[in-house]
């Protein structure tokens, strides 16, 4: 099962090495791993795409959260979210087929970013599936080079609002039920 996991981490030396080391040491497979800055200079966001069953993914989440500089981990499985992967691909194509290729690229809302005598460089952003579909169509023309950024992801606004509300409620509920709460006597006997 494919999962997209996002981790907010402190922007400090050794974090990437720790995360990468954790995956290799525990035998988890990574499809892609992207690290980039966020609006907060102290935090970076890591987006990891990985495969595994529920138990493996639960371990990945928990082990990530255990690392000292990891502030927050979430798995987008089952949530409303947007994911994007950016791909640059150079297609070997001469003048006679150029317009054909450009047509395909336009259908995918990609852009041609470089043209040479016998090649075209195309830029396309989208989900992994969309990129793979375009690449499939371009393959017959001959792909000279291809580079992808790997997936970044974020929850949709509605999802975020929903989660914040749930968090608030849970936090409120938790406090009431927490062990240190004075109102223990009010609890029903079990």
């Amino acid at each position: 099962m494919r999962h997209v996991i996002s981790a907010l981490v402190m922007n400090e030396p050794g974090v990437l090495a720790s995360v990468a080391g954790l995956f290799s040491a525990r035998g988890f497979n990574i499809d892609s791993l992207v690290v980039g800055r966020t609006e907060n200079p102290e935090l970076s966001r890591m987006t990891v795409v990985c495969n595994g069953d529920e138990n493996t993914l639960e371990q990945i989440r928990k082990q990530l959260a255990k690392l000292v500089p990891v502030a927050k981990v979430r798995d987008f499985k089952g949530a409303a979210y947007v994911e994007r992967d950016l791909c640059l691909v150079t297609v070997s194509v001469g003048p006679e087929q150029r317009s054909e290729v450009i047509e395909i690229v336009t259908l995918f809302r990609g852009r041609v970013v470089d043209v040479a005598k016998s090649s075209l460089m195309v830029e396309i952003a989208g989900t992994e599936e969309k990129i793979e579909a375009l690449v499939e169509l371009l393959k017959p023309y001959g792909i000279k080079e291809l580079a992808r950024t790997g997936v970044i992801a974020m929850a949709r606004g509605t999802q975020q609002a929903k989660e914040e509300a749930a968090e608030k409620q849970a936090a409120g509920g938790k406090r009431k039920r927490s062990l240190n709460a004075p109102a223990q006597a009010a609890l029903p006997p079990s």
Binding site: G14, V68, A71
Partner: protein, 586 residues
């Protein structure tokens, strides 16, 4: 760890008064570190070994109020600090040099990581400018130790030093404890702070401590209590986490109130008094048959600060097949890692059990206790006195008898370790000090030194094997120098006994590289200036143990024991807990 505030907390919450004398300004990195260790973190014992890149720090140690123990190898420094930490509950502190000094601490750091022991290790490093240039005695120590520390730091600027030192102690001791390493370049030790420095740990580090200082949620606790009350055949399965959390008192109360039999892991030994009728001793690969049978039969398994290690569970597919599982652990990643858990209780073991105590109800469970009593009667730990040599189990029984089960025991790894676990009767926490997770041979001798320094009034005994002992035997020099009054008992069978046992059982007695030609250990001790005794005959064991205990200073006893003895019961690899080889117990 304990809920008492640490120096890091106070340092974090107390703003430096502007008018007060500056705490850090005008001082060198080494000076700041030394003062922080001694004053803020109340470090009274430091282990280590000097070298080029750590010299500025050692210059500070020239006149230190703390006790510095100069080991003969950095590995021993690490294990000493580990033994000290296990016996006191305080973090062990190690200071070593760069390169080989630091890499020599990797084994003790990994040992501490596996067993959740708080260590703070300071390693020298070449000057920041030279880092990455393959300088003399340079090694990528943060890179090397990353997988085996809870966290590590490379300090690149003296201005970061106070904050990082406070964070390191906080991380090492909070939540599930573990080792933290700080790599200290030489120029950072020398650099002088030009301004007053911020020493407050950052928010995300503090938050970890706060979340770790609570018990499980009330819902989790009540679900657990309900499950326990409904169960006919519950078993408490207690690990080292209960000792770390200081939960043994409340554990006893829960067990007694609910009338629940209790077994412990190797690291959990001492968390539950084995003189109690409810105790089933240790479980697992070499655990008691009654504990293993009880786990396989139980309908509710209550794991407290234990992690379902493969040496405990045997074949996971057949582990506790009828049981609903409750798991109390402070580390969420331990829960449902190996075994699916029905009721997780995430939090401090002591606080969680205290909350649970109120809801756990007394049940008779007559049939269950009768069943366990029958197993206990049928399959006690036992051995036969059928050799001209003394049996190793007999030596341990004798030590147990003459110390009234009150001694602090450390071990190496192997047969002697398992026999110590089986034949000593553990009564209180922090009494058994052994490398469980990593299984580090050579752990016994240095850890008993650390334990003795942490518990000066107590009798501290290293029950060791000949092979384990030889791995760190150079520490006899340190013991002699500081006159650390430890007792060293070598159960000498001229073999790596546990490996031999496996070769006996699974490799047709082809003793590939397990027989060992040993030195005369008692003469060796003499040469170091330590009292050495040799005990060749079984009739002398009783009086030799007496003599050993009566000796005031350090003493080593070389007990000749039967080499062909096996540890039983034994759950062979890949088998279920109930599929024990009973060997001589059958």
């Amino acid at each position: 760890m304990s809920a008492s505030p640490t120096a890091a907390d106070t340092a974090a919450t107390k703003p430096a008064a502007a008018s007060a004398k500056p705490k850090y300004k005008g001082k060198s990195g080494a000076q700041i570190l030394h003062e922080m260790l001694v004053t803020d973190h109340k470090v009274d014992t430091i282990f280590g070994y000097p070298g080029g890149a750590i010299l500025p720090m050692f210059d500070q140690l020239y006149k230190t109020p703390a006790k510095f123990i100069l080991n003969r190898h950095e590995q021993a420094s690490g294990h000493c600090a580990d033994g000290y930490a296990r016996v006191t509950g305080k973090p062990g502190v190690v200071i070593v040099t760069s390169g080989p000094g630091a890499t020599n601490t990797v084994t003790p750091i990994a040992t501490a990581q596996m067993d959740s022991i708080p260590l703070v290790v300071f390693s020298g490093q070449v000057a920041t400018k030279a880092i990455g240039n393959d300088a003399f005695q340079e090694a990528d120590v943060t890179g090397i130790t990353r997988p085996c520390t809870k966290w590590n730091y490379l300090i690149k600027d003296v201005r970061e030093l106070p904050r990082i030192v406070n964070e390191a102690f906080l991380i090492a001791t909070s939540g599930r404890p573990g080792p933290v390493l700080i790599d200290l370049p030489k120029d950072v030790q020398v650099a002088v702070a030009q301004e007053e420095l911020d020493d407050a740990p950052r928010e995300h580090v503090l938050r970890r401590k706060k979340t770790a200082m609570s018990g499980g949620s009330q819902k989790q606790v009540m679900d657990a209590a309900e499950l326990i009350n409904k169960s006919e055949k519950p078993v408490l399965y207690v690990g080292g986490g209960a000792i770390i959390a200081g939960a043994s008192d409340v554990l006893r109360k829960v067990a007694e109130k609910g009338n629940i039999p209790c077994t412990t892991t190797l690291l959990g030994l001492g968390a539950f008094d084995e003189h109690s009728d409810l105790s089933m001793y240790m479980l697992g690969m070499h655990g008691s048959a009654f504990a293993n049978y009880a786990v396989q039969e139980c309908d509710c398994l209550i794991a407290v600060g234990a992690r379902f290690d493969d040496r405990v569970t045997g074949n996971l597919a057949t582990f506790a097949p009828h049981a609903k599982i409750i798991h109390i652990d402070i580390d969420p990643s331990s829960i449902s890692k190996n075994v699916d858990v029905d009721v997780p209780v995430v939090g401090d073991a002591r606080l969680s059990l205290e909350a649970m105590l109120e809801y756990v109800e007394h049940r008779d469970r007559k049939d269950w206790h009768a069943q366990i009593a029958a197993w206990k009667k049928r399959y006690p730990f036992k051995y036969f006195d059928d050799s001209k040599h003394s049996k190793p189990q007999y030596v341990i029984e004798e030590i147990n008898k003459q110390t009234n089960g009150e001694a602090v025991i450390t071990t190496g790894v192997g047969q002697h370790q398992m026999w110590a676990a089986q034949f000593y009767r553990w009564r209180r926490p922090r009494q058994m000090i052994t490398s469980g997770g990593l299984g580090t041979m050579g752990f016994g001798l240095p850890s008993v030194m650390g334990a003795q320094l942490g518990a000066p009034g107590k009798v501290c005994i290293d029950i060791d094997g000949d092979a384990s002992f030889l791995m760190t035997c150079y520490e006899l020099a340190t013991i002699a120098e500081y006159d650390i009054p430890v007792k060293i008992c070598i159960l000498n069978n001229d073999f790596q006994g546990m490996v031999k046992q496996w070769q006996d059982l699974f490799y047709q007695r082809r003793y590939s590289n397990t027989p060992m030609k040993n030195p005369n250990f008692s003469k060796m001790a003499d040469a170091y200036g330590i009292r050495g005794i040799r005990c060749e005959n079984k009739c002398d064991v009783e009086k030799t143990v007496k003599e050993m205990l009566a000796h005031k200073g350090p003493v080593l006893v070389d007990f000749f024991v039967e080499p062909n003895e096996h540890v039983y019961p034994m759950v062979p690899a890949g088998k279920g807990l109930h599929e024990m080889e009973m060997g001589t117990l059958a």
